[in-house]
């Protein structure tokens, strides 16, 4: 097993763990997650869909990453979703909205918006490296 394969495996496992854990935990404690989403500075009509769609997509990405044939799609989806998350967290952090909401649940609440932005950026970069390594095969 060469270095590239080791790096690919580590990135793959990290993303699978992250999407699986966050997606399933949001579904288990759906009421708290829904409340945290509705507390965000976008219309509640959008928030209702977001609170349902996000955990489903997260679990779906984990499943795509498991399959060898669907793995590249899982990496691309991970980049897409992390780009959306990172952009949103960045906008909240710099005060682009009329108010700064609290996360009210989960990781955001413990980390704060700045730390969460940096973490998201790190994961986004991992997913992009995953695409580059997998494409080279």
């Amino acid at each position: 097993m060469n270095l590239r394969q080791i790096i690919e495996s580590i990135i793959l496992w990290l993303l699978i763990v992250m999407w699986t854990y966050t997606g399933i935990s949001k579904l288990i404690d759906f009421a708290s997650f829904r409340g945290a989403i509705l507390n965000q500075p976008f219309p509640n009509e959008i928030g209702e869909y977001v609170s349902l769609v996000v955990p489903i997509i997260e679990v779906a990405l984990a499943l795509l990453l498991i399959g060898i044939r669907t793995r590249i799609l899982g990496f691309v989806g991970s980049v897409a979703l992390m780009s959306v998350f990172t952009t949103y967290v960045g906008l909240v952090w710099v005060g682009s909205f009329e108010r700064i909401p609290c996360g009210c649940a989960g990781v955001i609440e413990r980390l704060g918006w700045q730390a969460h932005f940096i973490l998201n950026l790190f994961v986004l970069n991992l997913a992009m490296i995953g695409i580059m390594i997998t494409k080279r095969k």
Partner: protein, 97 residues
């Protein structure tokens, strides 16, 4: 050995799912909490009140909390982290007499 290596991603998924079920507890607290915008009128946040619909908790520069276990900031235990302010969205929320 190759077979096992191919199954590691699936095992990772299963392990992460088990941890998610083990470490996540759905919100089941039936205890009412209280929030106020002015420390004069206290609103009762019960099971029927929804964050983001009936009230909001926004970040604040003040050393206060969004919710408290009793309708008094000095005697009531705070719920959640500091520097959060309560914002009323639904004026029909029940209040403390």
């Amino acid at each position: 050995m190759n077979n096992l290596k191919k199954r590691i991603p699936l095992l990772t998924f299963v392990l992460a799912a088990v941890f998610a079920f083990a470490f996540t507890q759905p919100k089941t607290s039936s205890m009412d909490v209280f929030g106020t915008e002015d420390e004069i009128t206290w609103y009762i946040i019960d099971e029927d009140a929804t964050l983001g619909v009936d009230y909001r908790c926004d970040q604040s520069i003040e050393p206060i909390h969004c919710l408290y276990e009793a309708p008094d900031r000095t005697t009531g235990n705070p719920v959640g982290p500091i520097e959060r302010e309560f914002v009323l969205l639904n004026p029909n929320l029940p209040t403390v007499d």
